[in-house]
Amino acid sequence: MSESGSIFSLALGLVLSGDAELWSIIALSLRVSLTAVALACLIGLPLGAFLAVVRFPGRGAAVALLNAFMGLPPVVVGLFVYLMLSRSGPLGVFGLLYTPAAMIVAQTILVTPLIAALARQSLADLHGEYDELFRSLGLSTGATIAALIWDGRYSLSTAALAGFGRAIAEVGAVIIVGGNIEHVTRVMTTTIALETSKGNLALAMALGLILIALALGVNAAVLALNRTARRLAYA
């Protein structure tokens, strides 16, 4: 009890003292996951909107596949990206393995299906409401998708936050393609895994605290977004 208590106060001290190593790890984590989520939104939102709007043969299967991919195991994604980027892989020439870029690629693949599936769900409802008006106006598919994404912005921000929550907390993919190299590819989750196994619990705990704070922050943001959306009748 007292041991874990002292670890906790050591961890808190690390966080509050602005420890350089700690903060460089946090900064890299944020950079990787935020970039991945931004890319995943660029791909996932139009993809989800497209699946919500356009009827084509095989659409049901595509949606089912997307929903299944929502729960992709991070280690499997990591392995896949590893095979693609490794020196003998098809994209090996770019030399991206064990760089933050590789981690961004892996997390983008991990969260794109999640964001696309959540976007499809909420935009399908919105499209049901808007469909007759848009057809009456003779709106093109592109314009329809753009309007749906804009009018669904609150629920889509929630989807993006869910994607960020998944990206920042996963360890399996980034540890495989990033390699957990000190000062280069060490992010919060991989550091926690390593330092815990080395017995350096204070640093691990400090990072754990930051992760929990981020999770709480994400939830608070979702709550605030939902409340604003409801107040403006934009939900």
């Binding site: 409401e129 808007y130 007759e132 008006l133 057809r135 009456s136 309007a147 009018d151 403006l232 009748a233």
Partner: protein, 258 residues
């Protein structure tokens, strides 16, 4: 009451008229074995305000959706000015639905949404004009979905008008509104009509029909019972069911749902 188009924006009468006549031939629509529109044929010219009347469930909204091309007929043909009902024809028409669809944007941005083709200053000017005519200037920044029913309906009409349609379909635009709101909506409809737009409107409000109609189409059980000039229809409807409807009597044969 009717003002000539005064803003110079309304398109030339001849240009508008090219979408007419509307010719409907042997139109039917069935769903799950029920024939909901039953072998309807008629012809309509491009002037005036045409009112569709008939009991609940008679098929008025359905007929309107078919005429606007939102539904595909089971059989029969619809042509506008000799052309089949394609996207281009539909783009020259606008529809205000029984429950208006409000975009999740401010009242003003609901108008700008359909005015994207106009450059900045022209768009601003048009928005001002439309807001003023719909008496919505004071709530222009309010999210449209927070507006009252009457305000939403006026905004929906203003938005439809913004597309400068040759034909405007209105499905019960003032159902359940108080007399003042109903009056405001009728004024707005007259303004759109004064732009040179053909109005096709569904209402159960006999007073409103008398005030607005040039001609009346009476729909009963998926068929057109009678299509008469308004004065004639209200004095001497050519259909027993319409007479019963106007007198507020129940004509049990005409009601599907009893």
């Amino acid at each position: 009451m009717l003002k000539p188009p005064d803003d110079g924006k309304a398109r030339a009468v001849a240009d508008r008229a090219s979408i007419f006549p509307l010719e409907v031939s042997r139109l039917s629509f069935s769903d799950r074995g029920r024939t909901l529109i039953d072998d309807v044929s008629f012809r309509m010219e491009g002037r005036g305000i045409t009112i569709l009347m008939g009991a609940n469930g008679a098929g008025k909204s359905l007929l309107m959706r078919l005429l606007h091309g939102l539904l595909q007929p089971t059989s029969g043909t619809i042509t506008w000015g000799g052309r089949p009902l394609d996207v281009e024809v539909r783009a020259r028409q606008a529809m205000v639905f029984q429950r208006p669809t409000m975009l999740r944007r401010s009242a003003e941005d609901n108008l700008r949404f359909v005015l994207g083709h106009l450059p900045g200053p022209a768009q601003d000017a048009r928005v001002e004009e439309l807001l003023a005519d719909a008496k919505l200037e004071h709530i222009r920044k309010t999210p449209a979905r927070l507006l009252s029913g009457g305000e939403q309906q006026r905004l929906a009409i203003a938005r439809a008008r913004a597309t400068d349609p040759d034909v405007l379909f209105l499905d019960e635009p003032s159902a359940s509104f108080d007399p003042a709101s109903t009056f405001a909506i009728e004024e707005l409809i007259r303004r759109v009509h004064a732009d040179g737009t053909k109005i096709i409107l569904i209402t159960h409000n006999v007073g409103q029909a008398r005030r607005l109609a040039d001609d009346v189409v009476f729909v009963s059980r998926g068929r057109i019972d009678t299509h008469q000039p308004a004065a004639e229809f209200f004095a001497k409807p050519r259909s027993r069911t319409a007479r019963a409807y106007l007198e507020g009597r129940l004509d049990l044969d005409a009601l599907d749902y009893l």
